[in-house]
Point group: C2
Chain length 700, copies 2
């Protein structure tokens, strides 16, 4: 794929179909953009109405174009697009940018038009950006292509920016420019009838000039491909994603907890984390993050030193660190002694280091050296005071020097001003990120810490697993053959066991006598239940009796359950005895998302899950590292740890269960949904106590 | 107080003590600032070394100043300050701004210097700003005073800005200027040896030109006074507070939950909410909030209409609304029909209204009319597209017109650009807040909604209460007389009852026989406890037996508790029988904060309180409205509502209990701390089941 997009993104000649000299012509604007940006290749306006456009000779149709045109940009009436695409294909033009709107975004005729377009793209094997897009920009010095009607042409640099939205894309190009961020590639995907974000990710993966990728997406063209690319890319370059828009697709009514608790945004969040993408929530956060990443230095830990010549700003920075979980460690005696050697008596030798308004270039140099010895990163606040013996540029230079002596530690600057001064230019030239506000510098450092944790997560070895898929399939085929979608507990247990998921000890009984015998193996206390593939809410039907302490109670329980079965008329219902496990109640689940495929859920069970909705999601497959992150991410995680004399739950077992369940969900597409509610976990293990498995109504 | 500060803030003549022509002289800079800003009154440099400074005749000492100087600014060596303050007092100069540093912020000598200064201020009844400050600015047209060394002189307007920090204050003045925000008063408080934020609040309360107050504080000079002023002011003008810095004062080890769970920032948060202040967390949020408030329109509800000519930005705005709890309601059929009358087929008629890039002035006018009919506020996104028949200014004018036709509904603009264009100027001239990013516009609307809720909270009538303080004091005096700090359950119950706080039914017994008799009144099941003023953790000592179902168990329990008492040797221990209440376990507490005085705590009890730290605080006294807000603010509030067949807890009783407890804490200063852990609440009432009250070691 990488080879394929070379010509699209670095064409030697471009045709602008629909270029016109008329004011307000989008094609004309694109032609002018191509000229203005200094595109060195050949440019061919195509328009039957004109002999020249903007002084460039015009051809009347695509058929008349010379051989070897690399890229055609279509900015024409929507009713002409399909024919012109065919013409381009005939002329051997394989790369197209279709600016024209009026496709699937606009009613039934548009949807049909796009269907035909897709078919045409597929048939001819074309690389098509759009339709309904702003175009593409490649501002790297060797290319200088503005094949778009964007009024902003970026200055070149390491960032590639892929945007699903056009107007927002242009807004961001403007912001990137104002922030001094170097963007060399901009693609507005539009309707993605041909190329999607995944194609450009594949291209950028092996593009050495690209140091970071930023995506603005409203939906994923193909989540599995996205995950594969981003997993690979994010090991070496950050992939920052601003994902907007909530789909309604997931809102279809589903019977299980898993379905009803899943908000599509929670799944998106989990998915992006699993990919190794760095999700940002706002445009401003995206800018902050990308500026921090330009230098490419990630901290090794969460500890920051704060240097300041303005006390209040130091406090604000420290507060902001506390809010986002960055440590501002107190300095040791040695550091304080070193600082005392050059700072005045009024200075604060702690962390923040308040060097007061008299701090000059040498103080910043020495202070930064101490700070970077004590911490993993530094935030340097420098607002030139009214009176200072050193020029601000000199201070900036010493900060740069200090940063370079510790090249593995990020140094972020806060100037307490929105002005771009020569000192700021010095800092930016060294690729040190400069922010006006202390909170923004802290936010930037928080993003770098997240990026580090993403990198670290890849070092976790993935445990090899062997699952007995065949054993599980045998069960499912039998159930399907019987025309059922619901499973008996026994069948569910068999499937879980095939995937190494523990199930509590159980026995089926048909009479009180059998129950008393079974109890000898299971041991008291016991739980007795009605088991039926038709019964999804046992408690509501009085079909569960817990805490059975002895033979008398057991016989009563069996009799009561028999009468429940008789009254409710459950066909094929059986009576199930289980050991009564003690420990934390958890819920695990599997659901199929229309866009992401199988997802797994983990949460605290019982009252918690229903009242507090304290659950977390992950998209299958889930690695052990991701499973651990998912388990840790619930708000009430603290309740799983050792507490008030109760031992901690067996966390490795909880993590293992989630991983295994995710593989089960992938291996067994016939399974529509699973609720293990509860799984009961104690210090020794975790085992499913109730199992609800529903198959797809029409088995695959 | 208001009259008193008139002369300080609007002086007719100013002396600058320490003014010097030397480069880098702070006094000289202040003199130049006074001249530059166009101060119309008399200016007197005071410096024995010069005959003139900057062309103005100089007097050699304060003693030589003419009569009737309103304000003296001291920018002199710290060792001269105390003498010059005395000189000023002698010359009848009652208003001083002391710029000089080297007081309590710098070591023991500084602390002593400040002590003497305070004494001098008190003795002479002076109005002193500082020391260690940047000065004051009054840019209202009739005054034009820059009595500071700030390099930024604001343009005048409705905002008063009180800052504890100097450099951060200057930073904010710069930002205010860039954002076009009108500031007319700036005060840098410095060390607050004389005047504090409270004095300026008192002044501003009755200042009609002041429409909003912004405070940057690192600590409160006197919280009770602050609360009193802000409670009053915030009914008519917003008070926005950026509070930085966490005190360590509250970290002293305390035995109770209340103390150990209170983080000082949680108390600050509660305190500011109770005052009616609008707390912001970052500098940026402060700017966003103040810009939104300039027009002075608060929405009546949480529903917003979003208009856009850029689809992506509309989605981003809607997402941001969802995150902050602003409703983006779907429009009804009527609204959709109205929109369809003028919008093209490709437009989105829902909410956001996506008017697509062709939308012109008339579309914005009509669209806004529909949006404001359907919602309480509108966010209007307008980025001029490449091609548009109307001038952007014309679009802006129609937006202004639309906003003015619904003067009670805020309209916030997003331009998707950081540029200040003529269209932006049109919008700003009408005091419509303009933001670059959709998320910022949403954040601004969220602040307006918070401000509205603060206003609404004052409409809640405060229920009149009568507490039997004397009855409670009798108990305390008896305990003090006995030399105890701990109380018996019975004594605690008496105090609570005096404040209308329900306590579970109980009886003391000395033998199994008495217990059996008492049980006839209390009813089974029962709880039996050892009650001793020395016993703070009953469960750890095995001093509680719960679930006593009948006479046999009761007799056993009494015997066991007797032996616990014997073994542990608790002096004066008694055996307590209680009804065993069923319901939600809650925790209530009282603690004394070194800065805020008595605070109350509310939270879920049992495992929750210890593991999840899910508690909320309020500063006494707590109004019923504030108590309700505190109860609702815990994360697990949902668990108090009706759930799985369990009835909702009696919320009015929970609220009432918190209010009463706060009055108890104020009325009884001898009480050091209270833990009611648990209070057990059901659908009918809430009653304390365990009561821990500790008195101050040395009674007041």
């Amino acid at each position: 794929m990488a080879r394929v997009l070379e010509q699209l993104l670095s064409p030697r000649s471009v045709a602008v179909v629909g270029a016109s000299p008329k004011a307000g012509s989008v094609g004309g604007e694109i032609l002018r953009n191509l000229q203005r940006c200094g595109f060195p290749g050949a440019i061919f306006p195509v328009n039957p109405k004109y002999a020249t456009v903007d002084g460039i000779p015009c051809v009347s149709s695509v058929a008349e174009l010379p051989d070897g045109v690399d890229l055609a940009i279509l900015a024409i009436n929507r009713d002409l697009v399909l024919d012109e695409v065919e013409s381009c294909a005939k002329r051997g033009i394989r790369n197209l940018v279709i600016i024209t709107a009026g496709f699937k975004e606009s009613g039934n005729a548009g949807v049909e038009r796009e269907r035909v377009l897709r078919e045409s793209i597929r048939r001819h094997g074309l690389n098509v950006v759009g339709p309904n897009c702003m175009g593409i920009i490649n501002s790297s010095p060797s290319v200088h292509l503005n094949a778009s009607f964007s009024r902003w042409f970026p200055q070149g640099g390491g960032i590639a920016f892929i945007s699903q939205s056009g107007s927002l894309g242009e807004t961001l190009l403007e912001c990137f420019g104002n922030a001094g961020l170097g963007v060399s590639l901009f693609v507005n995907l539009g309707n993605r009838a041909g190329l999607s974000e995944n194609d450009f990710l594949a291209h950028l993966a092996s593009e050495p000039a690209c140091s970071a990728i930023f995506l603005y997406l409203e939906s994923f063209a193909a989540p599995a491909g996205f995950r594969e690319h981003v997993e690979r890319i994010s090991k070496t370059k950050p992939v920052v994603v601003l994902k907007a828009g909530r789909t309604e697709a997931g809102a279809a009514a589903v019977a299980s907890h898993t379905g009803s608790l899943a908000s599509s945004d929670a799944i998106v969040e989990a998915f992006l984390n699993q990919c190794g993408a760095l999700r940002v929530t706002t445009i401003q956060e995206a800018l902050t993050a990308l500026r921090a990443m330009e230098r490419g230095v990630l901290p090794r830990g969460d500890r920051v030193a704060i240097l300041t010549n303005a006390g209040g700003a130091g406090i604000i920075a420290a507060d902001a660190c506390e809010r986002v979980g960055i440590a501002v460690p107190a300095f040791g005696e040695r550091a304080r002694r070193e600082l005392a050697l050059f700072l005045p008596a009024e200075a604060g030798l702690g962390n923040p280091i308040d060097m007061i308004a008299t701090a000059g270039a040498a103080d910043y140099g020495q202070g930064l050296a101490v700070g970077l010895t004590e911490a993993d990163a530094a935030i340097v606040i420098f607002r030139p005071p009214l009176v200072l013996k050193d020029a601000p540029e000199a201070v900036a230079d010493r900060i740069v020097e200090g940063a370079l002596t510790a090249p593995d530690k990020p140094v972020l600057i806060c100037t307490l001003s929105e002005q771009s001064t020569p000192a700021v230019e010095h800092l930016r030239a060294a690729r040190l990120p400069v922010y006006a506000m202390p909170e923004t510098a802290v936010e930037a450092l928080a993003v770098l810490n997240r990026a580090r944790r993403i990198r670290e997560s890849w070092q976790a070895p993935e445990a090899p697993r062997s699952f007995d898929r065949t054993r599980a399939r045998v069960v499912i085929e039998r159930v399907v053959a019987e025309g059922r979608v619901g499973l008996y507990f026994e069948e569910g247990a068999e499937i879980l066991t095939a995937y190494g998921i523990p199930v509590c000890a159980f026995r089926y009984v048909t009479s009180a006598d059998e129950a008393v015998t079974a109890a000898k193996t299971l041991g008291y206390p016991l739980v007795a239940k009605v088991d039926s593939p038709q019964l999804f809410h046992r408690f509501e039907h009085g079909a569960v009796i817990t805490g059975i302490a002895g033979e008398g109670e057991l016989c009563d329980a069996v009799d009561r359950l028999k009468s429940v079965v008789r009254r409710a008329g459950f066909e094929g219902a059986r009576i199930l005895l289980q050991e009564m496990r003690r420990g934390r109640e958890l819920i695990y689940g599997v659901e199929r998302d229309p866009s992401f495929g199988p997802i797994v859920m983990f949460g605290l069970g019982g009252t918690f899950v229903e009242a507090l909705n304290d659950v977390a999601f992950a998209v299958a497959p889930v690695s052990p590292y991701q499973a651990a992150a998912t388990v840790h991410s619930i708000r009430s995680f603290r309740l799983l740890e050792a507490f008030r004399g109760e031992e901690a739950a067996d966390l490795p077992a909880l993590v293992d269960l989630l991983t295994s369940l995710s593989h089960l969900a992938i291996d067994l597409p016939d399974v529509a949904e699973i609720d293990l509610n509860p799984v009961i976990a104690n210090a020794r293990d975790a085992a499913a106590v109730d199992i609800l498995i529903k198959l797809q109504p029409t088995p695959i």
